[in-house]
Symmetry: C2
Subunit: 694 residues, 2 copies
Amino acid sequence: MTQIQKFERLFNPRSIAIVGASDVPGKVGNMIARNLLEYDYQGRVFFVNSVREKILEQPCYATLSDLPEDVDCAIVAVPAQFVFDVIAAGKEKCKNFVIISAGFGESGIEGHNREMQLMQLAKENDLIIMGPNCLGFVVPQININASFAPGMPYVGSIAFISQSGALAVAAMDKAREDHIGFSAVVSIGNEMLVTAADLVRYFVDDENTKTIALYMEGVVHGEDFLDAVRYARQKGKSVLVLKAGQTERAQQAIALHTGSLAGSDEIFDAALLKAGGIRMQSMEDVFVAMVYASHYAFGKGGIKSIGVVTNAGGPGVLVTDTIATLQHVNMSVLSKKTKTDLKKILPEAASVHNPIDLLGDADAARYGSGIQAAIRDKKVDIILILLTPQAQTPVMEIAQQIVALCQNIDKPVITSFVGGERVSEAISYLRSSGIVHYMSSQDALRTVDVLMRMQMMYVYPKMRKKTQERTNRMKKIVEQVVDRDVLYYEECVAVAQSYDISISSYHDITRGLSAQQKIVYPCVAKIDDPKILHKTDRGGVILPIRNLAELHRAQAHLLSAFRSRSARVIVQPLVPIKMELIIGMKRDPVFGVAVIVGLGGIYTEMFRMTELFIAPLTIAEIKNTLLSGKLQFLFTKVRGISPYHIDAVARCILQVSLIGVENSFVQAIDINPFLVYNDDRKDIAIDFKMIIKK
Amino acid sequence: MTQIQKFERLFNPRSIAIVGASDVPGKVGNMIARNLLEYDYQGRVFFVNSVREKILEQPCYATLSDLPEDVDCAIVAVPAQFVFDVIAAGKEKCKNFVIISAGFGESGIEGHNREMQLMQLAKENDLIIMGPNCLGFVVPQININASFAPGMPYVGSIAFISQSGALAVAAMDKAREDHIGFSAVVSIGNEMLVTAADLVRYFVDDENTKTIALYMEGVVHGEDFLDAVRYARQKGKSVLVLKAGQTERAQQAIALHTGSLAGSDEIFDAALLKAGGIRMQSMEDVFVAMVYASHYAFGKGGIKSIGVVTNAGGPGVLVTDTIATLQHVNMSVLSKKTKTDLKKILPEAASVHNPIDLLGDADAARYGSGIQAAIRDKKVDIILILLTPQAQTPVMEIAQQIVALCQNIDKPVITSFVGGERVSEAISYLRSSGIVHYMSSQDALRTVDVLMRMQMMYVYPKMRKKTQERTNRMKKIVEQVVDRDVLYYEECVAVAQSYDISISSYHDITRGLSAQQKIVYPCVAKIDDPKILHKTDRGGVILPIRNLAELHRAQAHLLSAFRSRSARVIVQPLVPIKMELIIGMKRDPVFGVAVIVGLGGIYTEMFRMTELFIAPLTIAEIKNTLLSGKLQFLFTKVRGISPYHIDAVARCILQVSLIGVENSFVQAIDINPFLVYNDDRKDIAIDFKMIIKK
């Protein structure tokens, strides 16, 4: 049986057992038992409890092995210390378990050991185990609530997967209000065996699921998770991810610059985007997206034009303001025909531009005219209908008009009735009739903008074969590095040259100048010491040096200022700066090699004008990102200024990523500055730092 | 009678007349009449209608002059063409009018003329007129609804003033749901006579009003409006402004650079902030703020620390993420005592750090312990209580516990129960018991952050006396400017020198070099022509020029490339650039002289790293803004880089503002670049453009 087939069994069981079922109200085993009986689940339900004969007036079995037949799924809600025995005893009767019990990996050494033993048991017997420390699952389509969450959501096309049981409960409750339906709600707990990635893959293949929404607090197997997101993307299903832990952003004090620019959360963002997933910023955004996803497809990307129909100018203007700040959504320019048509129908004072202002006394018929015009106009991709409940406004009749006109058209329709009591009944009616309604049209538009974002269709390049020659050279360079993690500039130059990265020449004058060293003035003298990562900040760079006398003074000064046995003094030509970039690489424990490029100099940390790339990369992908991202102004002609060399920058980014990909001992790289030009000068790395871990 | 006393009469009338009262359901005159009768208003109500004897079973008068007594207020709802006569005939019986009727300034020439006549009538007879084209007003405290908006809001301390009647209606309706109470809701319509500013001043003096919220689409008398906001600030009342029209931002193609950087909406923002008002971004933000303002004072500013109490980890982490992105709100670090106390009371697995995680099975008592700890802890300024309705959660009991503990403490308490049906009753209970509840704690925190923003207490400097000498010099410079609006560099140098702005020297070589002109190489040659505002973009700048031969070539090239009779060629020394700023001035028709400073060069439009200043200014205010704003990185020591000269920049900004303030014919100035240094070099203007209007 494949894993998919096992999950099929788990989420669509013909029979189910609850181990730890209970008669005592408030106990988890009682809540699950009652949930299973309450919602008209058609499969067989068995209660297991070693000390009771009947539970909820049904017969009760002492152990799983006593059951009269094999079951497709067992929910285990007994204290942690008994879980192993329950499963060991039941493994012949059942292969799919959901462990509700807490007291495992999340709670200290003892729990961790329990989890290890359980894992072993599962692997030896080819079991599926969800949890431990989870809430269970709900599949509305078959009326099964195998969890201790109260209620039964509407049937729908969204699979909601949550690391937090509490959020799953709250989401289920709130979703009823918004008329959001689910194909499944699953709480995954500790992800001991079944991970978020496994479930994403399963629901991608589930024909009842169109959209997968996840709440995650941490990413356990990053690469695998992204693989699953990529799979969803291939199959045309959208994955919405709300991930807590943004606070990690840039709070670490990491040795190299790149570290602080690319926190693990930023790397997750970049990796998710590359895989084709959509990052959500708050629970509210997830709900906005789920409401939209319940009715309409998204993710094809491109800019959408919105036509607004309103009975009040104010809210129309506010929406126009909001749309002006968005990237992937704009205001439709209505066609001439639409305007002419509207002029014939609407009162003279009405606006036939976008927003179409029907005026305060608009009735259902007038709304109908406005909406139909928007439906017909090819320049309108999405229709937004606003209503304020003015004294003359027949709110419910207008809602009915909307339902009549919009239920089965192929343009998305969003409604927003602004108010309280006077609109609440109509809102319920709209929602229950399958019309998207948002309390806040402005917030809704912001989220729709995120959904419409052109999801970049990266072609995932295959990892290239390592170039044996250069990795051998790398090995040799690193062999010399003893008792330290940071390379000397001399070694970095060798690394850069192995990877065809143009880098500034140098002379080592630690022990004075030799006759062969032909210094060109003006030049710069620098301290070069594995112990000193920020030499500029510490006064370890002297420039400009115009002649031999100044050079001697600089050398003497540096050696006496940095009394370190490992310190070297190097001299480099002074190159005129036109634009400084920083290009760095960081090995992320979860997502692998990340390369960052940003503005250098004093702008680096101030502006955080950076782009983050996740390996493997291609030149095409890098250029595409550079030309559409924050740094695009560098690479396009602006106000008569020639574009900077994008090819050189892209190539450097690619080569830096390859150093990381091909040499697993490389932990981090900082090229700072990488000088780039928009004339015939050659782009070049001026400083290069590398940290390794043997 | 002062204007305040008249408003007092208007909004607190002992008697009121409705001209155009009607029996016909759906007519405005009927809706107002019924609203006045329905809500237990204690004053006398008179109906005026020339063709009816009784309306709603009350006697009816033909005209205002037929009334048996004077009335404090008359609501006029007759067709526009009759309004003048109604008021002319009634002006002895009544001095305060509210004109509901549309068909005035908002609708063409005829309407405009009507408004002019009405204005004349009002001035001659010392009348107060609100509207025309408005909804009326509501004062819940005295049960008066003198509008055609349905319903009666709760009594409260917020005065809501709206240019849009529809938004006022929607707000009144929604406010009931959120338990927001109003001291008044006023729709101001065309602001023919009574302006938003008048009403702000009135409500500042109204003891029932603590907060004033405005929705505006345009600002009619900008200076006066800001005066009113300043007055509110002095009296310790907060003014929240939702202004539509952000779309104007930077969409104009204006001659000078500064124009596009400082759109009229940005200038409004800066001016409002300076006056002490708070700009809101959406109707939702206004509601969040009004809910908060209904219960707690804000606006004292400073950073507030938030203590979070929750029964679920997930929402706690999401809130922590949000708070990390805020500026004026942070997470409390709980005191040791609090943690020790909590450890004693809470289960072992609970978190005694912030967020205080009470765990999923938390009951009312456990919530009580957590909340009391937060109340006692001095490091907690604001308490945020989160709840997810888990199976074991006694939602209503917890709500009752919150009400019992939090109703009368002096720390603000914000609650957020996440869910739908399972929390809705408890939310209603919390709100009706005077507890602040938000559906979205993340959105709420973002708005609270805005409210807590340290409102800059600018001391408004008095306008200095004009320095006769320099304004005379300015006049002389401008006298020569004939048939053009743009000054030559020569004239700009004279202007800059008059105002002690350090500016680059130049030689005019239009007709070749003379012997007296001592050119220092390298230098730069530029075209100087009032017709060419963006000379760099058009190839009008040649550099570097290293010798006489190159200079001759440059001069010839420029003259032949720009075949303009008005063109001059000037030469300036080539000054090394360390940091380029742009400093500009723009005369705003509403808010007067605005000065902008931003990063220059290619960064100007890319980053929009700018600060906007509204005259009158002081050096202290300028420096304060520079050191706390987007450009602060320039003026503080960062990573070993010395700060740039803030005094020179501040002085230049001040002097540029004075050029504008003292010389009303100056329309705009662009200093681009203004070179600023962080060493012993002197900061200097390299190019200077000025546009005048004689």
